[in-house]
Amino acid sequence: MAGADGDDSLYPIAVLIDELRNEDVQLRLNSIKKLSTIALALGVERTRTELLPFLTDTIYDEDEVLLALAEQLGNFTMLVGGPEYVHCLLPPLESLATVEETVVRDKAVESLRKISQEHSPVDLEVHFEPLVKRLASGDWFTSRTSACGLFSVCYPRVSSTVKAEIRQHFRTLCSDDTPMVRRAAASKLGEFAKVLELDYVKSDIISLFTALASDEQDSVRLLAVEACVSIATLLPQEDLETLVMPTLRQAAEDKSWRVRYMVADKFSELQKAVGPEITKNDLVPAFQNLLKDCEAEVRAAAANKVKEFCENLPEDNREQIIMTHILPCVKELVSDTNQHVKSALASVIMGLSTILGKENTIEHLLPLFLAQLKDECPEVRLNIISNLDCVNEVIGIRQLSQSLLPAIVELAEDAKWRVRLAIIEYMPLLAGQLGVEFFDEKLNTLCMAWLIDHVYAIREAATCNLMKLVEKFGAEWAQNTIVPKVLGMANDPNYLHRMTTLFCINALSEVCGQEITTKQMLPVVVKMASDQVANVRFNVAKSLQKIGPVLDNNALQTQVKPVLEQLKADSDMDVKYFAQEALTVLALA
């Protein structure tokens, strides 16, 4: 410490370390988060010789502090003097990688992976790889778990002898006697396979994969399914049948629903990885089984994949496969007993119409859409409505409009406000699909009714909806259909409705343009400035501020300014405040 140089001597390490040892966790945490500042103050040499040993020795703290430390150290390379010295960071990170708390350990591994790239090949063998080995043969499961995530980053850059050792370590961890380590190994299997030479993939990885996929614990088996995707991508087509498929078939029929769920969840990736031939012969029947699975969880996961699976089928006999194998299962799912299954299906089923074309859609899919539009569960109906655009492209929405309308009306009046909110959000989309006439005739009343809903969130969404409709249909339409109704509410006895008028004006003025705003909206706002309710009055001030930019200078000076002046002298504090704010923003003060 005595030999400190330059301005660094201003900051004796003791003071800084005191900060890192502060009794208050929050302060300690703050200090650790600014560890880079401390390192900077110390300079690279003292960071290496004093700060890092201190950190390594005192690793026993709150997990939150350790997490921050693990993260910081990943970005410390320059602060210890660049890649040449990066290995100094290994000891503290090694200790952090053995900590119990998963998030700390994961962060330490992440940082180790990051700085591994900054090691030269020599340093990697001299410093990094021995660390991985130590972790891999640690006593407590945490260090072995961490080791699993480090093999793949050093493997490509070490000599072949060291490579052989790494493979051996990975093999050992795959058959570790604690399931936690086996899970960690299984989850890194795909990643590790990617950096291995193809021969070793075939000789080593496949046997590990097969073993993990038949582990006694389903939590391990299901991770092997994930690895299956990467492994299948690496292997040449002719090897897939013998090396991968037996295991995949077994997973698709596993006695644990969690494993089957995983297969369903990864189905599209698996399909791409194994290619069209195997898809036709194996995956189609497997997919049928998953769609008919006894657990709703699995069916829902598979139902979610229906569209993607069909899309990726080989084009030459896609239609035939869908019509004879997939569609019958889909039909059954429409009347599934579980609402999550139905709603998963409803969120993708419309996508089939583009794949199957107009005739098939009308004949086979339309009845399903109609059935789902009448489903008892609002989520199912909503999912259908939210995807109408796919069908519109293929058969036009008119085919559906007869059933659509009752479904929309029912959702619009649903007792749950979240359901009402969801349907409001689809209104602009529906308006675009259905056209202005249909809209005026059937849906306009609904849109206006939402403005006086008793839930604020609905009124707010309804206001925003009006704006989007005007964007679609234009100012003239607004002037004829919605503006008069909105302005009419200004005389409503309920002050909440009067405020809604103001909120609508806020939303509509810009899309309606200067003329409508000045001639129709402004007089109403001005009149409301003498409302009895203070909340209405200060919202008048806010509205004036909002619509000000749309108005011309004349209107601002002759109409807006006097009103704001009047409100500025209001007896209510909030009214005064917002009037003043509007005057300032509009530069009328």
């Binding site: 009794e23 006695k255 709703a296 989520e379 979240r418 909110l421 925003c464 909002k546």
Partner: protein, 467 residues
């Protein structure tokens, strides 16, 4: 335009229909194991004569046949299928339960594998999906196992079998092996409390009778707990497993093996971090106290562990921690107390000044505990300075009058214990606060300087200021 953009709610937050909900199963009142694929075919069992109706020499043979019949498993979610056969199996199981309880000489060597096979076929199954995300065991009704009418009898039978006088572990260990135990432990995740209760008894009996499996059972319970703490936070049978462990710990020989100490520090203590602690806290605290009664030198690591995992935001858990700590203090040895009193009372001091009155109240109740009071009194010269500032402050500003009253009592107790020190602390209260403030200011300045330095360095390395 801009107004609409700012006032419209974020769709993701307001929309109650995010995709995630797809994965949560709807709450059902009862559930069946996840093993039935639509079978369709009705099940036929050929009725056998009653055991008591055949001559004794023929009974073992018939017993085996009945066991084989009972391997057939029925689908209870379909309430209408196989009604007659379900009833037949139920009565057969009942008969088997009675038979193993009263009969003698039935347990031939051939019977063991058949019994284990029948039990395995019935109880070992993949548990169905649960609504772990939404399920609140304190509020919601547990989902019950649909096949309970049969399952209960199978468990009943198995327990009678294990408890039977004729039962010989030396033969049974060939069949009740590690794999069997592993599957049994997985069943503790069952949502049905009735099933977990039976499992508890079964595991207890197996632990008691199969010495060769003990270490394995403990290790697997370790794994279940570690997974529960660090991976899933979901496992229904934690309380039951802890209850078994409570009596296992009771039987540990002294001195404790390193394995057991490791279990305490690396598994039981971290269990305190789990969100659903309230569901098994009583059993956990019991295990901890058992350990400390066995070996008082473990007190320090245990209390340090609790302090490390002290709840930061959950007041309900904080109250539980305080309760457990009092249980520990009830059995603490004065020599151990001295070792941890400083960190311990720093935490208690924070609890006493908690704005949550239940936390403050629970901590202040320590002063009603005679044994704790005697410990505090012996060490008042250390404890009083730690506690004083917070007590003094909240006696003036806590919102809850009951807390203020309790704090007054505590202050009074301290004053009586050590009036000289008390007066000194009162006198220096103000200057101490000022010193703290000054220190705080110095810290801020230090950091400001450091940040300026960083800025300068940053500019320099960008080449703006030449080095």
């Amino acid at each position: 335009m801009s107004s609409a953009a700012t006032t419209s709610p974020s769709v993701d937050k307001v929309d109650g229909f995010s995709r995630k909900s797809v994965r949560k199963a709807k709450q059902k009142r009862s559930q069946s194991s996840s093993q039935f694929r639509s079978q369709g075919k009705p099940i036929e069992l050929t009725p056998l004569p009653l055991l008591k109706d055949v001559p004794a020499p023929e009974q073992p043979e018939l017993f085996l046949k009945k066991l084989q019949q009972c391997c057939t498993v029925f689908d209870f979610m379909d309430t209408l299928s196989d009604l007659k056969m379900k009833e037949y199996k139920r009565s057969t199981l009942n008969e088997l339960v009675d038979y193993v309880t009263v009969s003698r000489g039935y347990l031939t060597e051939q019977a063991y594998p058949e019994v284990v096979k029948m039990v395995s076929h019935n109880i070992f199954r993949t548990l169905p999906p649960s609504d772990s995300n939404e399920f609140d065991p304190e509020e919601d009704e547990p989902t019950l196992e649909a096949s309970w009418p049969h399952l209960q009898l199978v468990y009943e039978f198995f327990i009678r079998f294990l408890e039977s006088q004729e039962f010989q572990p030396s033969i049974a260990k060939k069949y009740i092996d590690q794999k069997f135990v592993l599957q049994l432990l997985e069943l503790f995740d069952s949502e049905d409390p009735r099933e977990r209760d039976y499992l508890k008894t079964v595991l207890h009996r197996i632990y008691g009778k199969f010495l060769g499996l003990r270490a394995f059972i403990r290790k697997q319970i370790n794994n279940i707990f570690l997974r529960f703490v660090y991976e899933t936070e979901h496992f229904n049978g934690v309380a039951e497993l802890l209850e078994i462990l409570g009596s296992i710990i009771n039987g540990f020989a002294l001195p404790l093996k390193a394995e057991h100490k490791q279990f305490l520090v690396k598994v039981l203590i971290p269990l305190h971090t789990v969100r659903s602690l309230s569901l098994f806290h009583a059993q956990l605290a019991y295990c901890i106290v058992q350990f400390l009664e066995k070996d008082p030198t473990l007190t320090e690591p245990v209390i340090r562990g609790l302090l490390k995992f002290w709840p930061k935001t959950c007041s309900q858990k904080e109250v539980m921690f305080l309760g457990e700590l009092e249980e520990i203090l009830d059995v603490i040895e004065p020599t151990q107390f001295v070792k941890i009193q400083e960190p311990l009372f720093k935490q208690i001091s924070r609890c006493v000044s908690s704005p949550h009155f239940q936390v403050a109240e629970r901590a202040l109740y320590y002063w009603n505990n005679e044994y704790i009071m005697s410990l505090i009194e012996e060490n008042s010269s250390v404890i009083l300075p730690i506690m004083f500032a917070n007590l003094y402050r909240i006696s003036k500003e806590h919102w809850n009058p009951a807390i203020v009253a309790l704090v007054y009592n505590v202050l009074k107790a301290f004053m009586e214990m050590n009036s000289t020190l008390f007066d000194e602390l009162t006198a220096s209260y103000k200057s101490d606060r000022q010193r703290e403030k000054k220190k705080e200011k110095e810290r801020e300045e230090l950091w400001k300087k450091l940040e300026d330095l960083e800025l300068k360095r940053g500019l320099r390395s960008d080449g703006i200021i030449p080095t």
